[in-house]
């Protein structure tokens, strides 16, 4: 696990911010990465193999989800990923269907909104083009445990209430721009309350279609293990994310699912 000195962190952060316009930084311009110092983390999921907690190496995470505008630039530079050219094995037919055209956003897709209707393969390709990758589930969970002032707010019932509030917002209200919400204690925005996000290892969330079967004895389902169960039933954020990601395949896309990228730190 990398241990970054404070000075090293500052230098690295400065490097990552290099070239970003000041106004953009003020408004939480996406495309920026922040350094998230790692640690040992108790997941809300019950992992039989890492009972003492998951080790998270320090990593860089995009401050906000990838926007329509950013994905448009990628598609223009990589026309094989146009929605009218990409093979269906990598992206289903509704890929970027909210755009007016293959390389045109149109009025339904504002440039600063988080991009949705994007498949895991497309998300991974975008990140790779930036010299980055999708975050792992553990990295996501680690960064998302924070609220504005604490790196782990999960025990706070008020924080959990806020998470639940997002689920009552109907999908017919237009998505706000990325970076509208206050940054969390790591400086990362919109991990909650905006869109679901792909992780690189979304297919490692082994759950049963009926996730009432917690503690099920069926060890044959996943070759030596039953379905993953929750350790903390009150962590609704995790519970819903696991349910969501475990229902998807790599070519799938939905109206409320986007992504952001991560990078290893040296």
């Amino acid at each position: 696990m990398n241990q970054l000195s404070l000075a090293g962190l500052g230098r690295l952060a400065a490097l990552l911010f290099l070239g970003m316009p000041l106004a953009g930084a003020l408004a939480g311009e996406s495309g920026e990465y922040v350094a998230v110092p790692g640690g040992v983390f108790q997941s809300a999921l019950r992992y039989e193999d890492v009972k003492d907690g998951v080790r998270i190496a320090s990593f860089a995470l995009m401050r906000a989800p990838v926007t329509n505008e950013q994905l448009l630039a990628f598609v223009k530079a990589n026309p094989a990923w146009r929605r009218d050219r990409v093979p269906s094995v990598f992206a289903e037919s509704r890929f970027l269907s909210h755009w007016k055209g293959p390389v045109e956003l149109g009025p339904q897709a504002l440039p600063q909104q988080p991009v949705t209707w994007v498949s895991w393969f497309a998300a991974g390709a975008y990140c790779e083009a930036q010299g980055a990758r999708l975050p792992t589930w553990s990295e996501w969970e680690f960064a998302a445990a924070a609220d504005e002032t604490r790196t782990d707010a999960r025990r706070d019932p008020a924080w959990r209430e806020r998470i639940l509030d997002w689920y009552s917002r109907p999908s017919t209200s237009a998505l706000p721009r990325v970076g509208l919400q206050a940054p969390n204690a790591y400086g990362v925005q919109d991990l909650h309350g905006l869109v679901w996000e792909w992780t690189g290892d979304f297919s490692s969330l082994l759950v049963s279609g009926d996730n009432r079967n917690q503690g099920d004895a069926d060890d044959t389902r996943f070759c030596g293990a039953g379905a993953i169960s929750m350790k903390d039933n009150d962590d609704y954020a995790v519970m819903m994310r696991v349910a969501m990601l475990s229902s998807l395949e790599g070519a799938d896309a939905t109206a409320n699912l986007g992504f952001r990228c991560a990078k290893d730190l040296p």
Binding site: P87, S203, C223
Partner: protein, 197 residues
């Protein structure tokens, strides 16, 4: 060449989603829903390197496993063999089997070869292969297989047999392992290996 660029190259080679069944494909062009479109380099039990798309041309059973797996993976092999036993000699000749390792770190060519020998696998028809570690997740994603690596290096994973047509389209899947074949899946294999070249 980055993975993304190579996906692009292959995508351009793919048929546009244009009712690929209705129109005859130009040789060399893969249909839009072919799993072979994923750029992937595989090393088999003899140390020979194959491109994933070189497996096109005949119907195949495909799965993912790892050699150190004591639990279900032997049953995956049994399932494949049981299917084969229920085919006629002509059907058997037309079918190929590919087992892709989840665990390239430990599944060297030697390890794969040992497993093939131990489980009495005919490597004339079966290929045991390992992808680069960075590509395992993408391979699993095109096949719809889910897995998690454990702290001790073992894996929890779904056990699936997938039937691909000669162009890499998924015809059928089964999660029923062991020697009692899933009758629906077996039917699909028979139909896929009937007739043809």
């Amino acid at each position: 060449m980055t993975k993304m660029n190579s996906i692009a190259a292959f995508a351009l080679a793919a048929c546009l989603p244009c009712g690929a069944i209705a129109q005859p494909l130009k040789p060399g062009v893969l249909p839009s829903d072919s799993v072979y479109l994923l750029p992937l380099t595989l090393t088999d039990q003899d140390g020979i390197v194959h491109e994933w798309n070189s497996y096109r041309g005949k119907p195949r059973l495909v799965t993912m496993f790892y050699t150190s797996c004591q639990y279900i993976c032997p049953l995956i092999i049994d399932a494949g063999k049981a299917i084969e036993r229920s085919l006629t000699p002509a059907q058997l000749q037309r079918l190929g089997v590919v087992m892709i390792s989840l665990d390239p770190a430990r599944d060297s060519a030697t390890a794969l070869k040992e497993t093939a020998a131990k489980r009495r696998i005919d490597t004339a028809r079966w290929s045991l292969v390992a992808p680069p570690a960075a590509d395992v997740r993408a391979a699993a994603a095109v096949l719809g297989i889910r897995y998690r690596q454990l702290a001790d290096g073992d894996f929890n994973h779904t056990s699936v047999l997938i039937l691909l047509d000669p162009d890499g389209r998924v015809l059928a899947r089964t999660e029923q392992m062991g020697s009692n074949s899933d009758p629906g899946f077996l039917d699909a294999v028979r139909r896929a290996t009937d007739g043809g070249p």
